[in-house]
Symmetry: C2
Subunit: 244 residues, 2 copies
DNA sequence: CCTAGCGACTGCTTTAGATCAGCCCATCCT
DNA sequence: AGGATGGGCTGATCTAAAGCAGTCGCTAGG
């Protein structure tokens, strides 16, 4: 099987462990129950008790929490290869909502499927828990960003992280990537107003670091951006297969 | 065994599932390797590759990330019954540091111990993953707080969450709790300056909601505080069988 | 006993980012 | 064709919280 033919999740996990044929088969089996969702309509509402998780195979999703005052905080984005709602399998109610940003393709994974896969292929379990740990590390990094970085650094860091995540599943590079997010999405993610997001993007553009326009992010000066954001990708743990 | 004699972790997990004798025994076995650490000296440094996790049995610890500019963001506190570094068992390097705030007692848990316990008592595995999910939900809530709440609401929310967590392991209540944190800890947690923390505490005190003084938090108006913070404890998932 | 150091606390000044109030340009709808 | 809608963009004003500079009180150490 060529690299291109693999599911994005498989590509991602392969960056962590070299998976055997049996494990690859187990992973593909998790992709059986295919589902589509349309952009804009929530897949899961916060407060709803959810029975299943999903593996995103195409498109973008955001997970967010709604505040009583109507504002929302986007907690994370899911791109192809990411799990969706893995955590809410164990907590009784989903503590946030999921909204597809574009039309998406996902595989539904029942709790029982997951537990079966875990029992049969322990190394696969480890790999999936690695992915969950990495997602959590990203949330933590995001927290640090909002708490301690100024608006420009926050934006720079966010774009770099996204670029790095997308590169791992083969739909982006150090040059840039396609990105369906609006400035409102960025605002809700970074804890800024949409107006300010606009200004920040202008500043980054005018200082020749990065352009975000017409659904495409272009890194003009990747190194400069890394410096501005103090971006250290260690938390993404892309160091390459550990268990071989 | 009476409730008081249980380890704090056991008490906490019992809020989620009623554990059998065998499972309780497995849990106690995880507590064999006892360790002590003194206040102020980091247990784990960020960047260090760590082999073990810990279960905190007495004292307080904070986990934080250091920024290049010298500021630090405290990500979470660990109180008795909490795991410490569970995530870094799977990621190659610890992405944050752990500092005991007071002298502490903890049980060291090797990766292999944990995997053995998981294999032997699957329900225990589920319970521990529940605890991990809950920790992650707290980080997410914390993220929302920093991104979307003003300083007063942030402080109120933080104190309520801590109170709720401590009550679960029996060392706090709706009336208040003992708390060894300084205003600097609060500042680094909430993304505020220490100066502003002081003002915020004064405001909360003067409006008769809560007092934080001499290492003790006293809730004067728990309901009012909940309203100010828009505190919805659902994400702490305490719904379940409280020791039946 | 004196001093060093930490934590709590305060007033004054500055600034990052919010809020308000708009405009422009597509696309979509009827 | 004529609105409505959504996203991007801008200038002017306002404000929450930072930063600075310093006091006070307690504890520990020489």
């Amino acid at each position: 099987m060529t690299v291109e033919a693999l599911s994005p999740l498989t590509r991602k996990l392969s960056a962590f462990v070299a998976l055997s044929e049996v494990e690859l088969a187990g992973l593909e089996r998790l992709h059986q129950r295919r589902r589509s969702f349309v952009a804009g309509r929530d897949m899961v509402h916060q407060g709803q008790s959810s029975q299943a998780a999903y593996i995103l195979s195409a498109g973008w999703v955001c997970s967010y929490k709604l505040q009583a005052d109507g504002t929302r905080q986007i907690v994370d984005f899911q791109v192809p290869g990411d799990f969706l709602g893995l955590r809410s399998v164990l907590l009784r109610t989903s503590d946030h909502s999921f909204e597809p940003i574009v039309d998406i393709e996902a595989a539904e994974v029942l709790t029982s499927d997951l537990l079966d896969a875990f029992a049969q292929t322990p190394r696969l379990a480890t790999a999936i828990l690695w992915a969950a740990s990495r997602d959590e590390a990203m949330v933590v990094e995001h927290l640090v960003g909002i708490g301690r970085r100024d608006a420009n650094a926050r934006m720079a860091h966010f774009l770099l992280e996204l670029g790095s995540r997308l590169a791992l599943v083969g739909i982006g590079s150090k040059e840039g990537f396609d990105c369906p997010l609006t400035q409102y999405h960025l605002a809700d993610t970074l804890g800024l107003s949409a107006v300010h997001v606009n200004r920040v993007l202008r500043q980054l553009r005018e200082s020749g670091l990065v352009t975000f326009r017409d659904g495409h992010v272009t890194f003009h000066d990747h190194g400069g951006l890394v410096k501005l954001a103090e971006f250290d990708p260690a938390y993404l743990d892309h160091a390459g297969p550990l268990l071989e």
